[in-house]
């Protein structure tokens, strides 16, 4: 495994052909532009989170997962702390959720990021089309700002602390 420490990993998922499911890729692209020349931040985006991403998670001091959500109002922006999953009996072969990725990181590499956050934007529509619903379109500036604020706080707090916690 590559031993170069990574201070903040932004890990987004989504499908740009499923309307508001594209919010993850949108924010990932925004983040790539924002931190293009900053080696402290790495941005990864794919259709779904897969077991193969666990190496990056294990290397990161902090992780910000980004996705749309279907259990809140359209356009609602939330952040929450993510803990490693305790029950892995229902596991997919091709995609994991954020808690499962953390649990796999702990299981395989004995490490967990010091901070793990999930930032979601409530989906208004997941139809087969590109673009966003009105509610999500209106929420994108605030979501980008919140992501930026969150990452900067993590980078700032990272400078004050020793490296990734080990279990």
């Amino acid at each position: 495994m590559n031993q170069i420490p990574l201070q903040c990993l932004i890990l987004a998922c989504g499908n740009t052909l499923r309307e508001d499911d594209g919010v993850g890729p949108f924010l990932a692209q925004w983040a790539e532009e924002r931190w293009r020349n900053d080696p402290r931040v790495r941005v990864l985006c794919d259709h779904q989170w897969t077991p193969e991403m666990v190496e990056e998670v294990a290397q990161a001091e902090s992780v910000v997962f980004i996705d749309c959500a279907t259990d809140c109002a359209p356009g609602e922006i939330r952040t929450m702390t993510v803990e490693p999953a305790q029950d892995n009996s229902k596991l997919g072969t091709h995609h994991l959720d954020a808690p499962q990725l953390l649990a796999l990181s702990n299981q395989l590499y004995g490490t967990l990021p010091r901070s793990s956050l999930l930032l979601t934007v409530g989906a208004g529509s997941l139809e087969l089309r590109e673009g966003f619903s009105e509610a999500v379109q209106a929420a994108l500036p605030a979501a980008s700002s919140l992501m930026e604020k969150t990452v900067l706080e993590l980078l700032g707090s990272s400078n004050d602390r020793p490296s990734t916690q080990r279990k």
């Binding site: 009996s89 072969t93 091709h94």
Partner: protein
């Protein structure tokens, strides 16, 4: 009273499948079927599309092996264009194909099958998944992750995207390889070699524990089909197909893509949406055969790379003639993964791989074209007909799982007869019946399903088809 046991869905497969086991009045297994319950429709809805769209369209059939469809489709398009692609483009496509094979074989071995092999067929389903493997053998879990990343990262470096890359087009590829990307891939090789060596060592250490499974996991004489070079080395991207018989004798050689439909036919059974492919001169089902890693290693005389050739020699010691038990698909898969890494190294250390000329251009010069390659699971063929404007009028895809369909059904019956006794079934027995299918690593489409637990619906039918009882977990 006869009984029918249904396993629905079958777990740790790519896609959705169902197994039905029929018991006679004595409670003995009389018959078994493997049903594919999905309909995709690509051959139909691609009609009317421009032929050059087919690689991108058909790549969407699958998220595990989109590269295979890209390549077979592009070759069919090139037959319509009557072009020969530049040598560098052919070599770059070969690297892409091998990278996909490595990551696909890693998925099959580490994620889908190693839970059974490492934890045992009778182990707790709630633990019989990658987390269980990670707990018992974390170094193997990391090796599997590493090999998947190796293959996927190469695909990403070549084609920008890990899944459904648009880099392969009719005529070649869109972009040449840069020196920095080549060097990045070469730097990944030592870890890849270490990971596949670890997997081979672990497999050999544990395989002996499965003597009973080896004896009944689709263990029967059969024919075998696969691509081969003229020097009888293994081939995944070009060459021609060879069909050998149960004793290793050549039945037919030099089957090109254009010749394919003359000798290969497709039968339909009323219990599955997947066709049953067979060798026409022998008829159906006598002309059935197996494809994929086991078949390929049975057909070739050499892998063409030194480490893999050592492993091939060891593999061929398993039998006097073709290796028959489908359990050894696991072993063959790992040998192919090792070969893939060696071949990628060989291709990338040739300075010509950085050549800028990677695309040939042409329009419609023929109204029909076919292409064939070896996908991770076996031979894949795309065959198109177009009108004067290049619009698809007919398309036929023959996929690896179709080639193996008859063998999978025979394998399920063989295992069921061994493990399902007196109308009784255990968790381990049903897992073994599923595990037979997993040795073939069929791709029924890319679909997620749950590890470990066995979502199982068992339906007991009376002899007249009425539901007597049903158990759903």
């Amino acid at each position: 009273m006869t009984q029918t046991i249904t396993i629905d869905p079958v777990t740790r497969l790519e896609g959705h499948g169902k197994i039905t086991i029929h018991l006679n009045e004595q409670g003995e297994v009389e018959d078994a079927q493997f049903h594919v319950t999905q309909v995709r429709g690509f051959e139909r809805f691609s009609q009317g599309r421009p032929f050059y769209e087919m690689p991108r369209l058909t790549a969407r059939i699958c998220g595990i092996c989109p590269v295979s469809h890209l390549l077979a489709s592009a070759k069919a398009c090139e037959a319509i264009m009557s072009v020969r692609i530049p040598h560098t483009a052919a070599q770059l496509r070969r690297v892409l194909n091998l990278a996909q094979m490595v990551q696909s074989h890693a998925l099959s071995f580490f994620h889908l099958s190693s839970p059974d092999l490492l934890l045992g067929m009778e182990s707790d389903p709630a633990q019989r998944h990658i987390f269980g493997v990670a707990s018992a053998r974390p170094e193997l879990g990391r090796a599997g992750i590493g090999l998947r990343r190796f293959g996927q990262h190469i695909i990403e470096l070549l084609g920008t995207k890990r899944i459904h890359t648009g880099w392969v087009i009719p005529g070649g590829v869109t972009e040449p390889l840069t020196a920095s990307h080549r060097d990045e891939i070469l730097a990944m090789l030592p870890e890849a070699y270490a990971n596949v060596s670890l997997a081979l060592a672990a497999y050999k250490q544990i395989a002996d524990r499965f003597q009973q499974e080896i004896s009944v996991f689709a263990n029967f004489p059969s024919n075998y089909l696969g691509l081969i070079n003229e020097d009888e080395t293994i081939e995944f991207s070009d060459g021609a197909l060879r069909l050998i018989g149960p004793k290793g004798e050549i039945i037919e050689d030099g089957i090109t893509a254009q010749h394919f439909t003359e000798v290969i036919g497709e039968a339909v059974e009323n219990y599955s949406y997947t066709k049953f492919v067979y060798y026409k001169p022998l008829g159906y089902p006598e002309g059935s055969y197996r494809v994929g890693p086991l078949a390929r290693l049975n057909i070739v005389k050499s892998m063409g790379t030194p480490k893999a050739d050592q492993e091939l020699a060891e593999f061929k010691q398993l039998a006097n003639g073709p290796v028959e038990s489908s359990f050894f698909y696991h072993h063959a898969r790992l040998v192919e993964a090792l070969h893939g890494i060696e071949k990628i190294e060989r291709i990338l250390t040739d300075p010509q791989i950085l050549d800028k000329h990677v695309r040939a251009t042409a329009g419609v010069n023929r109204l029909e074209g076919a292409g064939q390659i070896e996908a991770p699971r076996g031979t894949l063929s795309h065959h198109y007909k177009v009108d004067e404007n290049g619009l698809i009028t007919w398309a036929n895809l023959v996929v690896a799982t179709g080639h193996n369909n008859n063998a999978m059904n025979k394998g399920v019956l063989q295992a069921a007869k061994c493990y399902v006794k007196d109308g009784k079934f255990t968790e381990g027995a049903l897992n073994r019946v599923e595990a037979v299918i997993r040795t073939f690593d069929p791709c029924l489409s890319c679909s997620t399903h749950a590890f470990g637990q066995m979502p199982l619906a068992m339906t007991l039918l009376s002899s007249d088809g009425a539901v007597v009882d049903q158990v759903i977990r």
